[in-house]
């Protein structure tokens, strides 16, 4: 009896751990060319169309690579070759009024198109680069970052 209780508790803990690791997806991959991958929790995951993107993913394109993603709040990022972008935090919960978009454009070429967070809570958006922080007012822009 005790072992059965222990088993149930253990499986509940495992399930909770798994749920925590997975979390809610932040968005998905829409366009891919060449070598493109995500670094997620220490693992390298090749990206293809339809793969889900999660907060804390580091997105990397190779010398011939490019990538386009759409996040749950309709924010769009695309990246040219030799680019690195880290999705540090993403919270989009309009019913609760919780918003956060924290992104580091580390190096490479990027195009950004703002989504719903930019309309409802622009102060919740932090786009960081090695040469400064970008504040946005409902917009689209391109950036080329050579890195530090």
């Amino acid at each position: 009896m005790l072992s059965r209780v222990f088993f149930v508790v253990l499986s509940l803990m495992l399930f909770a751990g798994l749920a925590l690791a997975e979390g809610l997806p932040s968005g998905s991959v829409k366009t891919v060319q060449g070598e493109v991958f995500a670094e997620r929790q220490g693992k390298v995951l090749p990206l293809v169309k339809g793969v889900r993107i999660f907060a804390e993913d580091l997105l990397v394109t190779g010398p011939d690579g490019s990538l386009g993603i759409v996040l749950r709040d309709n924010t769009i990022f695309s990246m040219g070759p030799n680019s690195r972008l880290s999705l540090d935090e993403f919270v989009f919960a309009p019913v609760e009024g919780d918003f956060s978009l924290l992104v580091s454009m580390i190096k490479g070429t990027f195009v950004y198109i703002s989504g719903i967070i930019a309309k409802l809570s622009p102060e919740s958006i932090h786009l960081e680069t090695p040469v400064g922080v970008v504040a946005v007012r409902g917009t689209r822009f391109a950036a080329k970052i050579s890195g530090k």
Partner: protein, 200 residues
């Protein structure tokens, strides 16, 4: 042998090369509907605002102030950001479906939208579709939350019947809390009896 003149011209060439390709560039672009917003880059040395389409700024490094540059030509933008521009996904598409008062019956014109939603899902090869249920303020809050949930569920069922993978769909209900048209309580407003479908 390097004389003074050749060293000078070498320096000139190096200067021109470094100026032709600044290390860090930001350019404001118009959105697909033509609207232009604004961006502002700020670091410890300064801050520059861009609010005209094609306007750009350069920054030499984290310890240099950002510099406003003249409007970049379309050709220059294309050349610098070619691959990233080509990789831009189609923007998400949003649909509003309307219902008869107090019911989960779609209006006739909204029924026809289901086909357009399916085209949008296929065109985008979407794996990420949101369904948001809303109601008007006729009736209690609790009744309206229940109703908006039922309406969102109805649209979910219609899309699943058309073959959409259930893993691609998320359903959220807002009840009467997020109206398109603001009204007093207990007012029936057709525009608020809606389900929004966003195809990403």
């Amino acid at each position: 042998m390097l004389n003074k003149k050749s060293i000078l011209s070498l320096l000139m060439v190096l200067f021109l090369i470094s100026c032709a390709c600044p290390k860090n560039i930001f350019v404001l672009l118009p959105e697909s509907d033509g609207t232009v917003g604004a961006i502002q880059l700020t670091n410890e040395k300064g801050s520059v605002l861009l609010d005209k389409a094609g306007e750009g700024l350069t920054v030499a490094g984290p310890d240099s102030p950002p510099q406003l540059v003249k409007v970049m030509s379309q050709a220059e933008i294309e050349r610098t950001f070619k691959a990233a521009l080509k990789a831009e996904p189609l923007p998400p598409e949003s649909f509003l479906l309307y219902f008869e008062t107090g019911s989960i019956i779609l209006t006739a014109s909204s029924r026809d939208l289901i086909g357009q939603i399916m085209v949008s899902i296929k065109t985008r090869e979407s794996v990420d579709i949101s369904i948001f249920g809303h109601s008007d303020r006729a009736g209690s809050k609790r009744y309206n939350l229940k109703l908006s949930t039922a309406r969102a569920q109805k649209v979910y069922d219609l899309l699943v019947a058309q073959g959409v993978n259930t893993e691609f769909l998320q359903v959220t209900s807002h009840g009467e809390g997020n109206p398109l048209v603001v009204t007093a309580d207990n007012v029936a407003e057709a525009k608020n009896r809606r389900v929004e479908v966003v195809v990403r």
